[in-house]
């Protein structure tokens, strides 16, 4: 009997180790293809990366969300089963086990609203797509091709809300897109931006409010800048864009 129980315990230990190893391997595999993480993300100068996480669409106000979310992972599982894989589990102190949209660049939210339908506690409220406010997408004017001498329409083509969100200030320096406050924060534009590591970033509304005046003043400055100064600025931005161009992660059309 002693030998048999020893074998049972040993097989349990070995299978746990194998499971751990497989899991670690899958985790490392999932991190493949994210070389752009070595470069500072867009708009790093504004936020210095002190940003809160983006919640799934329909999420209630943050404190209420942390009180209601029981970490059941139904939203995450259904997002994965539908093939979008946008949601993942957060590992933190007060928000351990809650869903976040972490990788807008590769897996943005498509606003299918299936996660909302299955949340058992009401942490995700049933709202229509139009009333979703996951965040707002902000274009980094130093990295965007449309602000540095080219005409690129990739982000506006990807946007499901198109003309109600995008405004173009066409000029000699490019088509100069601007995303207004109707943006729902889904992140599709982030994915389809041809600049390596994206030139757009989705931030939560409360983070946006903190930097709004700085962002708008940069925007207005660029629009009103006289030719010689703008020339210098654009030609100093080009190397930054070229550096990201070395990361081949999107096709430029």
């Amino acid at each position: 009997m002693k030998r048999r129980s020893f074998i049972k315990i040993l097989s349990f230990a070995v299978s746990s180790l194998l499971l751990t190893a497989t899991d670690y391997a899958l985790y490392l595999y999932g991190r493949k293809g994210r070389e752009a993480e070595n470069l500072p993300p867009p708009l790093f100068r504004l936020f210095k990366d002190r940003l809160s996480d983006i919640r799934p669409p329909g999420a209630v106000y943050e404190n209420e969300f942390k009180a209601k979310c029981i970490g059941c992972s139904v939203c995450i599982n259904i997002c994965k089963n539908l093939g979008y894989k946008s949601l993942s589990l957060k590992v933190g102190l007060s928000d351990f086990g809650t869903p976040v949209v972490d990788d807008m660049r590769n897996h943005p939210c498509t606003l299918c609203m299936e996660c909302v339908k299955v949340c058992p506690t009401g942490a995700l409220e049933k709202v229509h797509k139009e009333r979703v406010k996951m965040g707002i997408a902000l274009i980094d004017f130093e990295l965007c091709l449309g602000w540095n001498g080219d005409v690129c329409l990739s982000c506006s083509k990807a946007c499901p809300f198109g003309a109600s969100v995008f405004e173009f200030y066409n000029s000699d320096w490019g088509n100069q897109p601007y995303i207004n406050e109707n943006c729902k924060g889904c992140g599709l534009c982030v994915k389809y931006c041809p600049v390596g590591g994206s030139a757009i970033r989705v931030v939560r509304i409360d983070d946006y409010e903190k930097v709004k005046s700085k962002y708008l003043s940069e925007f207005k400055l660029l629009l009103g800048m006289e030719h010689a100064k703008r020339y210098e600025l654009v030609y100093s931005n080009i190397p930054k864009i070229m550096e990201r161009g070395k990361i081949y992660d999107r096709e430029y059309q």
């Binding site: 899991d23 209601k68 029981i70 970490g71 599982n77 086990g97 058992p120």
Partner: protein
């Protein structure tokens, strides 16, 4: 209404337990009969379920009323108003794991600080049940107080075995490795406790179980004693009962006339059927009426 549930059904209980866990695990392969884990889930993407203890936790943490929460509770409420604490014996994956561990130790008697000798209650004096029986209520209430003060559903989100067991197995590229390690840690601690103090988790600590235990007080399913004159006091029933139901005490009270109700609604009973299979005179029955 079923007068007596057939003895034979209880032979298949462990298979049923394994099948239920399998249905949850099938999510990995994309087979979506159920989406989610035992804390909260969706069946066929139509019917929301939520664990009753998580329901109370969210009520405390959010300090308010959410209609979706109540809608998710209804199927569970209906199911367990009929079946009482059968969740613990027929659905909870830990029961399967704990029984496997217990079967490894049959030849050794391990005594932890809380003396549990082959699951039997000690006769005479203060039994474990009287000393520690209300511990589970205390644990549940402490957790709920914490939830109310800090507005976090502590047990469901962090420590619930019902979530962690599936995070340990289903986790893959869409969950971080840290979560996997955390769930592994929670599960290993429970296994460790089980090895040295059998069923202490189920009997004295698990808050989920005690909420289901409350259902036992008004559920359709209950224990019934028939022909108590035939009882030979062999004590096989209490030896097999790993939840510590005081069967012998009830039979004694029925015999000497102190108690006239042949029904027993024990908060600990999980309707596993071990006592029924053990009793040579078929005195104990489980009825649904």
């Amino acid at each position: 209404m079923i007068e007596n549930i057939n003895k034979e059904i209880f032979k298949y209980r462990r298979i049923f337990l394994a099948l239920i866990s399998l249905v949850f695990l099938l999510q990995i392969f994309g087979l979506n009969i159920v989406i989610g884990y035992l804390v909260g889930s969706v069946v066929f993407r139509l019917l929301n379920f939520i664990d009753p203890f998580s329901f109370v936790e969210v009520l405390m943490a959010s300090r308010g009323f959410t209609s979706v929460l109540f809608i998710s509770l209804v199927p569970v409420l209906l199911l367990y108003l009929v079946f009482g604490r059968s969740f613990c014996g027929w659905i909870c994956p830990l029961d399967w794991i704990f029984e496997t561990i217990d079967s490894l130790k049959r030849t050794r008697r391990i005594r932890g600080k809380i003396k549990v000798k082959n699951y039997a209650l000690t006769d005479g004096g203060l039994s474990e049940k009287e000393k520690y029986g209300y511990l589970a209520f205390g644990v549940a209430i402490l957790i709920l107080i914490f939830d109310y003060l800090f507005q976090v559903p502590l047990f469901s989100r962090y420590f619930s075995h019902l979530t962690n067991i599936f995070r340990f197995t289903v986790s893959s590229s869409y969950m971080s490795f840290n979560i996997f390690l955390f769930s592994f840690g929670v599960l290993t601690s429970l296994v460790f406790v089980e090895f040295f103090m059998p069923r202490v988790w189920c009997r004295y600590i698990c808050p989920v179980g005690i909420v289901y235990g409350i259902f036992n007080k008004f559920s359709l399913i209950k224990l019934k004693f028939a022909k108590v004159e035939d009882c030979s006091f062999c004590h096989l029933c209490v030896e097999k009962c790993y939840m510590g139901v005081d069967l012998i005490g009830k039979i004694e009270r029925l015999k000497n006339g102190e108690d006239s109700k042949v029904i027993l609604r024990a908060v600990e009973c999980i309707y596993c059927g071990e006592c029924i299979r053990a009793c040579p005179n078929s005195i104990i029955k489980i009825v649904l009426k």
